[in-house]
C-alpha cells in the first residue's frame, strides 16, 4: 500500500482547517441552535436577499451543515429510496464541488414524511461524516475523497426501523458519536474519525428513537447525554461508560438543551432541571406544557425557551421560571427546529415561510415573514453571515 501514501497528504492538505463560519452538526455549535455571528439576514424572498441557490438532486430532510467555505447536504432518491447522495458546495458561491453516491445497504421503508436522508451529517475541518437512515455511514474529506465507509447494517444485521431513523451523529473531538436506537440491535457508538473503527459501543435497549445526543464538558471531560425511551443517560465520551441516568428525562423525537447549568427537556411540554457535575440535581424546576415541541427541538436563547410544533404553534417562555410569554398558532406546521443568532430567532415552517422574531420581545410579533415557497423540513444552518436553508429541490444561501 506504500504507493498510495503520497496521495494521503494531498487529501489531508485539502482538508486543512478552513476559516469563517461553523455550523457543523444538527443545530450547529454544541447542538444549541445558536450562532454568535452578527449581521444575519432579516428579510428575504425567492427573488430578494438570496446570495446563491443550488439545485439538489433529490429529497432530504436532513439539515445542511457548513464548515468554513464548505457546505454539505445529503439527499436520497430512487423508487426504493435506496440511492444515497452526499454533496459539497462552495459556501461562498454555491458551486457544487463534488457529489458522491452510495447504495443503501439497510432497509429503506419509512413514513412518507421522512426519507433515508434524514439524519444530519457532521462537518469539521477535514470533511463530512454522513449517516443515513439506512445505517450507512461514510466519511469524506473536504475534497470528496472517501476516507472510510461503514455499513452498520452489515455489521449489525438486525438494525430496523420501518418508520425511518433520523437521529443525527455528533462530533466529540476525534470521535463521531453515532446514535442507533432501533427495533433491532440498539447502541450508542463512538467511531474514530480517522479510520471509522469502533472506539466503544454501548448497548442500548431496543426501541425506535429520533433523539440526537448532546455533549457537555464536565471538569475537562466530555460527557454525552442521550435521551431515549427509558430515560436520559450520560456516557463518558472517552470510553462509553455510563456515568448517570435520569429516568424522567426520556424522549423520542426532539432533543434536549443544556444552558446556564440547566437541562431543558422536551416532552409533553418543556421541563427544566438543574444539572451539575454528577447529573441532575434536585427536583424539576419548572414544566410548561404550552412550550410543547413537535418534531423540532426547543431553542434556549437569551434567557428564553422557544418551541414550535406540528400544529403551527410558536411558543416562548422564560428559561429560569418557565413563565410562558406567548403561545401563538400560525397556519402551518413546523418540522424544523427554531434557531437563533444576532438577536433574532428564526422559525421556518413546512411551507418554507420563516418567521423572524426579536429574541428580546415577550410577544409574538415577527419582525419579518419570509417565504421561499418550497417545503422545508430540515433545520437551517447559520454560517458566514448567512442562513443555509435546504428544501427538497434547492439549497438556498440567504444573506450577503
Amino acid at each position: 500500500m506504500n504507493r498510495f501514501l503520497p496521495i494521503l497528504p494531498l487529501s489531508l492538505a485539502l482538508a486543512l482547517p478552513l476559516f469563517g463560519g461553523e455550523w457543523g452538526q444538527f443545530k450547529g455549535p454544541n447542538g444549541t441552535g445558536v450562532s454568535d455571528e452578527k449581521g444575519l439576514p432579516t428579510e428575504w424572498s425567492r427573488e430578494k436577499g438570496v446570495k446563491w441557490k443550488a439545485a439538489l438532486p433529490a429529497r432530504g430532510i436532513s439539515c445542511p451543515v457548513v464548515f468554513g467555505d464548505r457546505a454539505y447536504v445529503t439527499c436520497s432518491s430512487g423508487k426504493r429510496d435506496d440511492r444515497l447522495h452526499v454533496l459539497c458546495f462552495d459556501a461562498k458561491t454555491g458551486t457544487q464541488l463534488w457529489h458522491r453516491q452510495l447504495n443503501a445497504t439497510g432497509q429503506t421503508a419509512c413514513h412518507p414524511k421522512t426519507c433515508m436522508a434524514a439524519p444530519t451529517p457532521v462537518a469539521d475541518a477535514s470533511g463530512v461524516y454522513a449517516l443515513f437512515a439506512t445505517a450507512d455511514l461514510a466519511a469524506f474529506d473536504a475534497d470528496g475523497t472517501l476516507r472510510w465507509y461503514r455499513s452498520l447494517t452489515g455489521d449489525y444485521p438486525t438494525i430496523t426501523n420501518q418508520v425511518g431513523m433520523a437521529a443525527s451523529p455528533i462530533l466529540v473531538k476525534d470521535k463521531l458519536i453515532v446514535p442507533m436506537d432501533n427495533d433491532g440491535e440498539s447502541f450508542l457508538a463512538a467511531i474514530d474519525t480517522q479510520y471509522g473503527k469502533n472506539v466503544w459501543k454501548a448497548n442500548r435497549p431496543s426501541g425506535i428513537n429520533w433523539v440526537t445526543p448532546l455533549v457537555r464538558d464536565v471538569a475537562g471531560k466530555s460527557e454525552v447525554l442521550f435521551a431515549g425511551n427509558t430515560g436520559l443517560t450520560a456516557y463518558d465520551a472517552a470510553d462509553g461508560a455510563k456515568r448517570w441516568t435520569y429516568k424522567e428525562g426520556g424522549g423520542s423525537i426532539p432533543s434536549a438543551s443544556v444552558a446556564d447549568g440547566m437541562l431543558f427537556l422536551p416532552g409533553a411540554g418543556v421541563s427544566a432541571v438543574k444539572i451539575g457535575a454528577e447529573g441532575v440535581e434536585g427536583k424539576q424546576l419548572w414544566s410548561a406544557k404550552e412550550l410543547k415541541p413537535g418534531f423540532g427541538s426547543p431553542l434556549v436563547y437569551k434567557g428564553k425557551v422557544f418551541s414550535v410544533d406540528g400544529q403551527g404553534f410558536v411558543a416562548c417562555g422564560d428559561a429560569k421560571s418557565g413563565k410562558v410569554h406567548f403561545q401563538e398558532r400560525t397556519k402551518t406546521a413546523f418540522s424544523a427546529s427554531p434557531i437563533a443568532g444576532d438577536g433574532k430567532v428564526y422559525c421556518v415552517n413546512e411551507l418554507g415561510l420563516t418567521f423572524v422574531l426579536d429574541a428580546g420581545s415577550t410577544e409574538f410579533a415577527p419582525i419579518a415573514e419570509n417565504n421561499l415557497g418550497e417545503e422545508v423540513l430540515g433545520t437551517p444552518a447559520i454560517a458566514n453571515g448567512c442562513l443555509f436553508i435546504r428544501t427538497d429541490k434547492t439549497l438556498w444561501c440567504i444573506g450577503k
Binding site: 457529489h99 461514510a138 472510510w148
Partner: protein, 388 residues
C-alpha cells in the same frame, strides 16, 4: 543501436502495462476485502485513493468489481467509480462511452453498477438503451424503461390494448402496475387482477391464537411448526382449543387480517400455511409485508424473522430467499401481535407472495388448494374471505 532501443522499449511496454494493471487490480482487491466493523479501513481508505488516482483506465474495472463484492465493498467501489467519472468530467476528458454502453447492457454485471454506468451516459445514449431494459433483472433499469413507455402510452387515448398488456407484464413496481391497470380499465374496460399480477398467496390454512407475551412465540415452536395437520385441534393461548381454518383473501394485495379471522388478541401469535407446487426446483423469494413481528419457514427451514411491531407494513419489506423443490412445498408464516394499546397499534395482519428475484410470479408455480392447483393470487371458489 536502434534495434537495442526497440528491444528495450518492447521489454518495458509489457512491464508498464503490467504495472498499470497492478495499480488498478491491487486496490480493487483491497476494497473487496473490507473487514467487519471497519477493522481494516486504514488500508482500504488508501486503496480507494489509489484506485481513483488511476483515472478513466480504472473506471470499467471498478464497475466490474462490484459483481462479486459484498454490499459494504460495493459502496467503496461505487463511490470510487463516481469519483473517477466526476474527475474526468471536470478535466473535460470523455468517458469511454462504448464500454459504458456495453457494461450497462450486460446483465451479467451487478445491477447497481450497471445503473451507475447508465447514468454516466448522455440523454441520447440513454434513450437508445431504454427499450432494451424492459425485462431487465435490475429493478431500477426496468423501472426506467417501463416509465419511459408508460409516459408515451398515457398520452394516447386510447392507448393500444396489447401495448398496455405487454407493458404490464414487464412492470414490477406497484405504482407503475396500478397506473397501467387503471389505463387498461379506462381505455379498454379490462379489469386487472393485482393479486395475480404480483403473485400474492390468497388461500391459507390459519390457526391461532397462541401465547406470545414479549415476543415469546418467536422463540417457541408451537405445533404448527412441527407439523401442519389441517383439521387438527391444538392447545392455544390460555389453553383454549384452536383449530385450523381455510381462508381466502379477496384483498387486491392479499392481506390476511387475523383480527377478523381469529379475533382480537394481545401477546398472541397466529400461523398461516400454504402449499406451493413447483413444476421444477428453483429459487424463490417469499416477500412479506406486516406491521407485526414474524417468522417465515419454507419446507421447515426458517427463511426470515424480524421482531418489530407497528412501524409500517410496506409491501415486500421482508424478503426471505429460498429454494422450491419440484412438487409440493410447505410455506408457514408466523405473525406475532404485541400488547400495545394505541389505536395505531391494533393491526395484526400480513400479506405474502412468492416470486422471482424481479418480483414476478414464477412460471409453473401454483398453489394447492384442496386438490386444485390455482394460479398464485387466484381465490378458491367461492370467493369469500373466510370459509368456516
Amino acid at each position: 543501436m536502434h534495434r537495442f532501443l526497440w528491444a528495450a522499449v518492447a521489454a518495458l511496454v509489457p512491464t508498464a502495462a503490467f504495472a498499470a494493471d497492478e495499480a488498478i487490480a491491487k486496490p480493487i482487491a483491497a476494497l473487496k476485502a473490507v473487514a467487519r466493523e471497519g477493522k481494516n479501513n486504514d488500508t482500504v481508505g488508501l486503496a480507494w485513493s489509489g484506485l481513483v488516482s488511476q483515472g478513466a483506465a480504472a473506471l470499467l474495472p471498478t464497475l466490474e468489481a462490484v459483481d462479486d463484492a459484498n454490499p459494504t465493498s460495493a459502496n467503496w467501489l461505487i463511490t470510487a467509480a463516481g469519483a473517477i467519472a466526476e474527475a474526468e468530467a471536470k478535466a473535460k476528458r470523455p468517458l469511454p462511452v462504448e464500454k459504458l454502453v456495453a457494461f450497462a447492457k450486460s446483465t451479467k454485471h451487478a445491477g447497481s453498477a450497471r445503473v451507475l454506468a447508465f447514468e454516466m451516459l448522455s440523454d441520447a445514449e440513454k434513450a437508445k438503451l431504454l427499450p432494451g431494459f424492459l425485462d431487465d433483472p435490475s429493478a431500477d433499469l426496468r423501472r426506467f424503461a417501463v416509465q419511459d413507455q408508460l409516459e408515451a402510452l398515457t398520452k394516447q387515448k386510447p392507448a393500444p390494448k396489447d401495448a398496455l398488456e405487454k407493458l404490464l407484464s414487464f412492470a414490477r413496481d406497484p405504482d407503475q402496475v396500478e397506473t397501467i391497470a387503471k389505463k387498461l380499465e379506462t381505455d379498454h374496460q379490462v379489469k386487472v387482477n393485482l393479486a395475480e399480477t404480483f403473485g400474492f398467496i390468497a388461500n391459507w390454512e390459519i390457526v391461532g391464537p397462541f401465547p406470545s407475551a414479549r415476543g415469546k412465540a418467536l422463540t417457541v415452536k408451537y405445533a404448527p411448526e412441527e407439523k401442519v395437520t389441517p383439521g387438527e385441534k391444538l392447545k392455544g393461548k390460555d389453553d383454549a382449543e384452536v383449530t385450523w381454518k381455510s381462508i381466502a383473501s379477496k384483498d387486491k394485495y392479499g392481506t390476511v387480517d387475523f383480527n377478523k379471522l381469529v379475533g382480537k388478541h394481545y401477546d398472541a401469535a397466529a400461523y398461516a400455511t400454504a402449499t406451493l407446487v413447483a413444476e421444477k426446483a428453483g429459487p424463490v423469494e417469499i416477500r412479506v409485508g406486516s406491521p407485526n413481528a414474524l417468522q417465515v419457514y419454507l419446507n421447515g427451514k426458517k427463511l426470515f424473522e424480524r421482531e418489530e411491531y407497528h412501524h409500517g407494513d410496506a409491501m415486500d419489506y421482508h424478503v426471505g430467499k429460498g429454494l422450491l423443490a419440484a412438487g409440493p412445498n410447505v410455506l408457514v408464516v408466523k405473525i406475532c401481535q404485541n400488547n400495545q394499546k394505541e389505536t395505531w397499534a391494533q393491526r395484526w395482519q400480513f400479506q405474502a407472495r412468492a416470486c422471482d428475484a424481479t418480483g414476478a410470479p414464477i412460471p409453473g408455480v401454483t398453489q394447492l388448494v384442496g386438490n386444485a392447483k390455482l394460479k398464485l393470487g387466484a381465490v378458491s371458489a367461492p370467493a369469500t374471505e373466510e370459509k368456516k
